[in-house]
């Protein structure tokens, strides 16, 4: 239970006695001290919650020494003035001077309700003060943490005025920039940056700062103790990431260059031999060279797929967006796949719903996904059929759904969640069922995601599989590129 401490400051022993008797009880503590500055300091050391200040025998015109009281360390405590019952003017004067209430002496009335009322009134104010202090403290703490960051952080007003910068920011932009416009100091711009103009509050952006490094910034709205809105921005140095990704890109470019170079020579000499430019070949020799040709072709495909997987999975690919007819995409892909299916004795059925709206996408990338799904179906189906269907789903402002279904070996239930993982391969009795690197579905899923779509699968082991993807239909609205 909270104990309220009451301090009587004055030299009237009778009044003090009367008050102490009336204000005794559970939850109350009473202390007496003189009405001078020393007495006030004693009350402060006592952690008094409320001050009863006796005017003693001061003349009626004497004011409440509120400044003295506050300076003594009693910064927030309510003050009740104890006045002689004939000193009405003194009571009024004290109230005007900042007292919360007054009590007449000699003590006739119970002073407790007055004390409680004064404590309540002050506790409300105290709560507000406390909240403000917490805000201030928190702001100070946050700034304290941000001050030690190795990366820049700053606070700006809604008018783009720099209010605060941490050490790292000062090192980049120089000290003494408080009050300057952030777009001007940071980016040498006369107008606010686009990201601030667009987003009043939380935002993310990237910027190269005056020290030549690249940063990713995140900003948030904060309120200061006066309730004013400010914007706090914290940067993260992404220069190392960018350097790593640059090294990675160069590495991949060089490796793929060096892998393709010998393939070109193999190709050329195989063709030279096959065309008889190196002399006539007998049938056996032609067959052997055809093996080299096919192997080289497979190797080439594998290399290109690996390079492509690296691009797609590291997000380093751009879609060439255009309005596309699903039928056109199917025409591109299925011509080649149909003969593959027929070679295996599989029937291939294609159904495109009438009046299907177009999609907005990258033709070769979507074709790549369809080729991957249909290619897998052919690969894992020994007999039966392969069905490709395209239809419309009215959901989410219209989506095109494309399904590839087969009567193949299917995917075991426990593997359905894994088939889109990188390097997943169909395994049966610990033996890989078909050749492949396990890249296709992972790449396909990324491509569909990049189109704002989803790719998913259903399967019954031994009965067949169905792969579906849905992407937003192009409903003819203006698309800004």
């Amino acid at each position: 239970m909270k104990v309220y401490r009451i301090a009587y400051l004055g030299n009237d022993g009778e009044a003090a006695m009367g008050l102490e008797t009336a204000l005794k009880g559970d939850g109350l503590q009473f202390v007496r001290a003189g009405g001078d500055y020393q007495g006030m300091q004693r009350a402060g050391e006592f952690n008094a919650d409320i001050i009863l200040w006796d005017r003693d025998n001061q003349p009626p015109e004497a004011a409440l020494p509120i400044d003295q009281i506050r300076q003594s360390g009693l910064t927030r405590q309510p003050v009740i003035v104890v006045v002689r019952n004939d000193d009405v003017e003194g009571a009024v004067k004290s109230l005007a001077g900042g007292a919360t209430d007054f009590i007449y002496k000699p003590i006739r009335e119970d002073p407790l309700p007055r004390v409680i009322a004064a404590l309540n009134a002050s506790s409300k104010q105290r709560r507000i003060d406390w909240c403000n202090r917490v805000i201030e403290d928190t702001n100070d703490q946050v700034k304290g943490i941000l001050a030690t960051l190795a990366d820049p952080a700053y606070v700006v007003s809604p008018e783009y005025q720099i209010l605060w910068m941490n050490r790292a920011a000062e090192e980049i932009f120089g000290e003494g920039q408080r009050g300057g416009a952030c777009h001007h100091i940071f980016y040498d711009r006369m107008e606010p940056c686009e990201v601030c103009a667009k987003n009043k509050g939380a935002a993310r952006w990237r910027a190269t700062l005056k020290n030549g490094k690249s940063y990713r910034f995140i900003s948030a709205v904060v309120r200061n103790s006066k309730g004013e809105v400010e914007k706090l921005a914290v940067g993260t140095d992404i220069t190392p990431d960018q350097e790593v990704s640059k090294i990675h890109k160069t590495f991949i470019a060089n490796v793929s260059h060096d892998l393709r170079t010998p393939l070109a020579a193999i190709d050329q000499y195989v063709n030279i031999l096959m065309e008889g430019l190196g002399g006539e070949l007998n049938d056996d020799q032609k067959n052997y060279i055809d093996v080299i040709r096919r192997s080289s072709f497979r190797l080439h495909n594998l290399i290109e797929n690996l390079i492509d997987a690296n691009k797609v999975l590291s997000g380093d690919f751009k879609l060439k967006m255009e309005v596309l007819d699903i039928q056109d995409i199917l025409d591109v892909v299925l011509g080649r796949l149909r003969s593959q299916a027929e070679d295996k004795g599989l029937t291939m059925q294609v159904q495109v719903a009438d009046g299907l709206p177009p999609v907005y996408g990258d033709k070769s990338r979507i074709a790549q996904v369809v080729a991957n799904l249909a290619g897998n179906s052919i690969k894992f189906t020994e007999q039966g059929m392969l069905q490709i269907r395209a239809g419309f789903m009215p959901r989410d402002e219209g989506r095109i759904i494309l399904s590839v279904e087969d009567t193949g070996i299917g995917v075991p239930k426990e593997d359905l969640g894994k088939i889109f993982d990188l390097f997943y391969r169909v395994e049966k009795d610990k033996v890989y069922v078909e050749e492949g690197a396990g890249l296709g579905l992972a790449i396909s899923r990324e491509i569909i995601r990049a189109h704002g779509g989803t790719l998913w699968a259903e399967s019954m082991e031994g009965m067949g599989s169905a792969f579906h993807f849905s992407i937003p239909a192009y409903m003819g609205e203006q698309v800004t590129r």
Binding site: S256, H257, R260, T261, A264, I266, Q268, Y269, I272, L277
Partner: protein, 134 residues
């Protein structure tokens, strides 16, 4: 007067590929000269004034880009069409090649018939090298 035999300069540091190309090109009726680095490519182009140059991008002693840059700035070679043949697959590189005045860009490994058709196309178009910056 019989049609003059066209000369093609093949510049690539992969000597095996240069030989393969020269077998193929000679079989198609062209004269072939070859270089194995950027410097040699420029020198042979200036000296022999071939009708077409097939240029690798990454070569010692100045790659294909610096070779074509020098060729396009020299009166003797500026009108000779250049087809790039590289194992790099980079859109920016293609763009750079185009800006430097290349008449074509092929990626290794390449399709023989497309490649031969492009050569024939460039050689039969008068002024196909018209990227000379005139």
């Amino acid at each position: 007067m019989a049609a003059e035999q066209k000369t093609i300069l093949v510049a690539d540091d992969d000597k095996d590929l240069v030989m393969a190309l020269s077998i193929r090109l000679k079989a198609a009726g062209y004269d072939v000269i070859s270089a194995h680095d950027g410097e040699e490519a420029y020198e042979l182009a200036s000296k022999n004034k071939p009708d077409l140059i097939i240029l690798d991008v990454r070569m010692p002693a100045g790659g294909g880009f610096s070779s074509i840059d020098r060729m396009k700035h020299s009166l003797t070679t500026r009108n000779i069409p250049v087809i790039f043949l590289t194992a790099f697959d980079d859109e920016e590189m293609r763009e750079e090649g185009r800006n430097l005045g290349a008449a074509g860009f092929f990626r290794k490994p390449f399709d023989d018939s497309e490649f031969m058709a492009a050569i024939e196309g460039v050689l039969s178009t008068p002024g196909a090298a018209g990227h000379g910056g005139m």
